[in-house]
């Protein structure tokens, strides 16, 4: 759930800033470009938190030598940029490990010179992705979710316990009870919301922002119904308590 929460939280408030600025005539760069449809981790980092990634690339990676130099230099620079990126989020080992893990994910692509394979659109001129694209998306998503465990955890022990439960949990009968409680209290509407969110993102993936041009050629009343449905969903599911943006702490 944190995977969707952090994306909704951070991408949402970036979009608010972009939209508000646009109302006053300023055009800000987009910060997210459908990252969960990325086909490899290199593409993910071109689509996630673009402003920060670009900054790190321009002011850290390139001054360090970038991809020039030998293999060792490339590996060193990649680790430095990802670990500094992790450290930027907070002075906690969890962020360092999160950064290092992403560097490890990135290395095979870099070493095989395949880090810039997916620079175009996703499933261009097609409604559905190819099997290869889908496989890449699912693998990248799974790796990202695994890395978020460290990003979300309070400390390394917390992350370790979570991963133990995740991978070795079947051996502990108490986990069955926890799973039962989780499913019992689970709000089915969340599944509906995530599916709805994925559909909107998928159909709007060729635009800068998912709903920007969605239904643009449809009659006005259809667009109004669609926008009203979005407002209804916001009213229906918004959290009643005041919750600060997750990214405010960074």
């Amino acid at each position: 759930m944190f995977t969707f929460q952090i994306y909704g939280d951070f991408s949402g408030y970036s979009d608010m800033a972009i939209g508000t600025a646009r109302l006053f005539g300023f055009k800000l760069m987009k910060n997210f470009a459908f990252p969960y449809f990325s086909r490899d981790i290199a593409e993910f980092w071109r689509r996630w938190h673009i402003s920060l990634s670009t900054w790190f690339r321009d002011y850290l990676y390139i001054p360090l030598g970038g991809s020039r130099g030998g293999t060792l230099m490339k590996v060193r620079n990649t680790f430095i940029i990802f670990i500094v990126s992790g450290f930027w989020h907070g002075a906690n080992w969890t962020f360092i490990v999160w950064g290092a893990l992403n560097a490890i994910y990135f290395l095979p692509l870099l070493l095989r010179n395949k880090n810039r394979v997916h620079t175009g659109g996703i499933a261009e001129n097609r409604v559905l992705p190819t099997f290869k694209e889908l496989r890449g998306m699912l693998l990248t998503f799974a790796l990202t979710v695994l890395a978020w465990v460290f990003f979300r955890a309070e400390d390394m022990a917390h992350a370790g316990q979570f991963l133990m439960d995740l991978f070795l949990g079947l051996a502990d009968y108490m986990n069955y009870y926890k799973t039962y409680r989780l499913l019992y209290n689970f709000n089915p509407s969340l599944v509906f919301l995530i599916i709805f969110f994925y559909l909107i993102e998928w159909f709007g993936r060729h635009n800068d922002f998912a709903i920007q041009k969605l239904l643009k050629n449809s009659p006005r009343i259809i667009r109004f119904i669609f926008y009203s449905l979005l407002i209804y969903l916001i009213f229906n599911f918004m959290v009643a308590e005041e919750t600060p943006f997750i990214y405010f702490q960074f």
Partner: protein, 308 residues
């Protein structure tokens, strides 16, 4: 700019209608599980549904109790009936002063009490009023007073629950009271709720700061002004809480504030309660505790000739 304003106006108008339709369809067809912002469906929490039905049938009583759960679980109306006073307990769950005000505006004139016992609890003064608002919306009539209160509280759950309750009031038949006993609570005629539970010693150590919510402060002030303008005698009462809980409160600040608004009786200093015998949680009395508290309270009523 002109076009933007025109489009915005048209969209606001059309989408309001469509949204209304979505809400109606949701209220009618969707299970409450997928509408997480509509709260307290079904039987009223703390028996407010029964209490508000009963209060509608009463007039000219002797004593009216107001306040939170410490009121409706602390003043057993049978103890007052037995000595010849017609008493009614209009307390409700986490009742904030803003909600007390709604109830006073609805019922004070009809009830016309000789004495109002206004229970004051420190936490209520810093409460935003969401829980109490939802309780009132679900269990009493929905009118303009609720709407104004919802605007003051300004919370999505309150707005949605209010919309749903209004829809229910307009288009659905009222829920029939199914039972006067829920879990180990029993509603007693007169508004009191008796809890059949063994005492439990709970130690509360964390120091509780006390700050005022401006809305509750001003509502409390207005309620006192209402009593004065209607010439209704009132007293302010702090019902007993366990000693550890009492000691954790910033009492100096709280007591000074309350004293400035009228006759104040802090029963934590009057009644000699036992933490192990008279409480089932840090601030709610068992039936034995309630009877002891009420006996002490009636002594004060008589000694200070608060009511004839």
């Amino acid at each position: 700019m002109k076009r933007f304003i025109k489009d915005f106006f048209i969209f606001s108008l059309v989408s309001s209608l469509i949204l209304g339709l979505f809400f109606l369809v949701g209220f009618e067809l969707l299970p409450f599980r997928v509408m997480p912002n509509i709260k307290y469906i079904g039987e009223g929490y703390g028996f407010s549904d029964i209490r508000f039905k009963e209060v509608d049938t009463l007039n000219d009583i002797d004593i009216l109790f107001l306040g939170s759960s410490h009121a409706y679980r602390g003043f057993d109306t049978r103890n007052f009936d037995s000595i010849g006073f017609r008493a009614f307990n209009l307390g409700s769950s986490a009742q904030t002063h803003d909600q007390t005000q709604i109830l006073l505006k609805r019922y004070l004139k009809e009830l016309n009490p000789k004495l109002v016992v206004y229970e004051v609890f420190p936490n209520v003064f810093k409460n935003s009023g969401i829980e109490s608002n939802l309780d009132l919306i679900n269990n009493d009539i929905v009118d303009y007073l609720n709407f104004k209160s919802a605007l003051r509280v300004n919370n999505i759950q309150v707005y949605q629950t209010l919309a749903h309750a209004y829809y229910k009031q307009k288009f659905k038949s009222q829920n029939k009271i199914k039972s006067y006993t829920r879990s180990n609570d029993t509603y007693i005629k007169g508004g009191y709720v008796e809890k059949a539970i063994k005492p439990k010693y709970t130690h509360s150590t964390s120091r509780k700061g006390w700050e005022l919510n401006e809305l509750q402060k001003s509502s409390f002030k207005q309620n006192i002004e209402m009593f004065n303008s209607e010439n209704i005698k009132y007293i302010l009462v702090f019902a007993p809480v366990s000693s550890s809980y009492y000691e954790s409160i910033d009492l100096k600040k709280f007591n000074n504030f309350i004293r400035s608004y009228g006759n104040y009786y802090d029963f934590n200093r009057i009644s000699n309660m036992n933490d192990s015998l008279h409480f089932y949680d840090p601030h709610h009395l068992t039936q034995e505790g309630v009877d002891k508290f009420n006996t002490d309270f009636i002594h004060i009523l008589k000694d200070h000739v608060l009511i004839k």
